[in-house]
Amino acid sequence: MAKKVALMQGNEACAHGAMYAGCTFFGGYPITPSTEVAEVLSNELPKVGGKFIQMEDEIAAMASVLGASLTGAKVLTATSGPGVSLKQELIGYACIAEIPCVIINVMRGGPSTGMPTGPGQSDVQQAKWGTHGDHATIALVPASVQEIFTETVRAFNLAEKYRMPVQVLYDEIVGHMRERIEFPEAGELEVINRTLPSVPPEQYKPYDTSFGDVPPLAAFGSGYRFHVTGLNKAQDGFPTTKAEYVDAEERRQVRKVEGEVARVQIESNEEYLTEDAEVLVFAYGSTSRSARYAVNELRKEGIKAGLFRPITLWPFPEKRISALGKQVKAIIVPEMNLGQMNLEVERVVKGSCPVISIGRVDGEPLNPGQIIAQVKEVK
């Protein structure tokens, strides 16, 4: 049977990806350029008995999804930079209390209201460091309408598997662009649900590490009674200030994502003509589309350019970028901000090659010409 295809906007694909992943609860607050995600879900969720709620602000939207997730729902919220700034308080809560949830950030410029209808990639460091305290971050950066669908599904899988918030960041260009999308059949993409406790209620501890670095999570109302708090807590979920408990829990919550094994499972990258590359372009989101075009043009002229495109931005692909840094003469980092991921690339290559930022923050997309010119300069 032929696959179902459609011409669809990135934001619509995101909403359909969420439905595919089994999302049953959306809490949001309208903001350009993300609003279509909410609009589509207000239509789709009740059809399957799911819940859509428009809250009084983004903080409340984030709170509502966390409350719903604790009852066992698979939850989503969608917003843009100013809304993510508000959500940061409770993104931290989701990190420490380990509550699965997916946050869509359709990026525009900033700070503050910035340019609501212009594209930007200005939240990529906010995604990592926006909330206070040490914590692990998973952030995905799809670059096409099709990929927004599949990465939204993957975001739900990772949120459920690692019991934490997962952010999907894409810029306004991919969010509002219309492209052909092929809908995966039911069962074609993997759909993961959180691990429920295997012990009876009286033995259940919400942060029990005897099951590994990601403890099973029971649902409120399912016969398990437990305590959830944003305070540092012991494995039984109750607050503690005992140094050894606090330290062990903090380290576990970072390790569950940044540990060797987890990293391999979470990281996802595309490499294009990197094998023999002498100049590497590191680009993500819509900027990676300009970068691919630039690489093709440069290759036609005999210049050995290659593209590294992270699809998982956080945790950062440290190993591979470090290796490529030793292989190439320079790494060019085009982004619609003033060099946010450039900093991270620099940190990881540790001076083994020059790292050059191309930043654009005028509300226009970064074009291939800018990248071609920069590569030629270093050649």
Binding site: F25, I53, G67, V228
Partner: protein, 272 residues
């Protein structure tokens, strides 16, 4: 025989963090008796709070308990209730938590008329952080950040709740301990948003700065300021000066939010 509170408390979690003479413990006992009266099932009841001395209450109670962030309890609770409408949802918290940082969530939860019971423990102060003034600190009073007297006007929480659309609003004080459980129980039975404001005391940070030498003085203050709403009709404006009405202040039957959303689901699924 003494009332058995322990059956509703988590073993090993006492002593609580509250100071001697703090009113929050009296409210907790009222809550436990009310849960008993209403026959609430522990597994099917979520107790949600924000941050503050008052908000530490859920940690002691043997239910599904959620100690959220400062001011956010009503918004978390809305998610719990929407996702699992069959659960009983009770919010507990302080005056600062509910009407300052959480004021927006408070009024919108009232407006939606979602079926939950919100017990707000108004001790007129930010207790936990050492006694800074809250939106409920009486004008002129001393707080750690109003050394020359509080210049701010105050919120009347119950009036705020009625104005925002809550369909059951009641008020009492920690002195009137036996009324606390009755009003909470009525709130739990009410279908829709029930606000129960309990005026209580913080001897440590409020009493000490405002010439209440002892907890007894603070209790006397609560006793003196309360006038049952049923008695107020016969009193002159002069007699009512500085008094606070107690009892059931407002009750109305209005469509409840989760029921309204169930209709949305039915319409989306094509049910006529």
């Amino acid at each position: 025989m003494a009332y058995d509170y322990e059956k509703s408390l988590r073993p090993g979690k006492l002593p609580h963090i509250w100071c001697p003479g703090c009113g929050h413990g009296i409210v907790m006992k009222g809550l436990l008796r009310a849960m008993d009266t209403c026959g609430l099932e522990k597994n099917n009841t979520a107790l949600v709070s924000g941050i503050g001395c008052a908000s530490r209450l859920p940690g002691y109670v043997d239910m599904c308990t959620l100690h959220t962030a400062h001011g956010r309890a009503a918004a978390f609770a809305t998610g719990v209730k929407m996702a699992r409408p069959e659960m009983n949802v009770i919010v507990m918290g302080g005056d600062g938590d509910g009407t300052a940082i959480g004021g927006n969530h408070f009024i919108h939860a009232c407006r939606r008329n979602i079926d939950m019971t919100y017990v707000i423990m108004n001790n007129f102060i930010y207790g936990m952080t050492g006694g800074q003034f809250s939106p409920c600190t009486p004008t002129g009073d001393k707080a750690s950040t109003t050394p020359y007297g509080n210049p701010d006007p105050t919120f009347d929480i119950s009036k705020l709740a009625i104005g925002a659309g809550a369909t059951f609003v009641a008020r009492t004080t920690a002195f009137h301990a036996t009324q606390i459980d009755k009003l909470i129980a009525e709130g739990i039975k009410h279908k829709g948003m029930a606000i129960i404001e309990v005026l209580d005391d913080c001897p440590t940070t409020y009493g000490r700065r405002n010439k209440f030498r002892s907890v007894v003085d603070m209790m006397k203050r609560l006793k003196d300021m309360a006038v049952p709403v049923t008695a107020a009709g016969k009193m002159t404006a002069e007699q009512l000066e500085g008094k606070i009405l107690t009892g059931v202040l407002y009750k109305e039957d209005k469509p409840e939010y989760c029921e309204q959303y169930a209709k949305v689901i039915a319409r989306a699924q094509g049910v006529k």
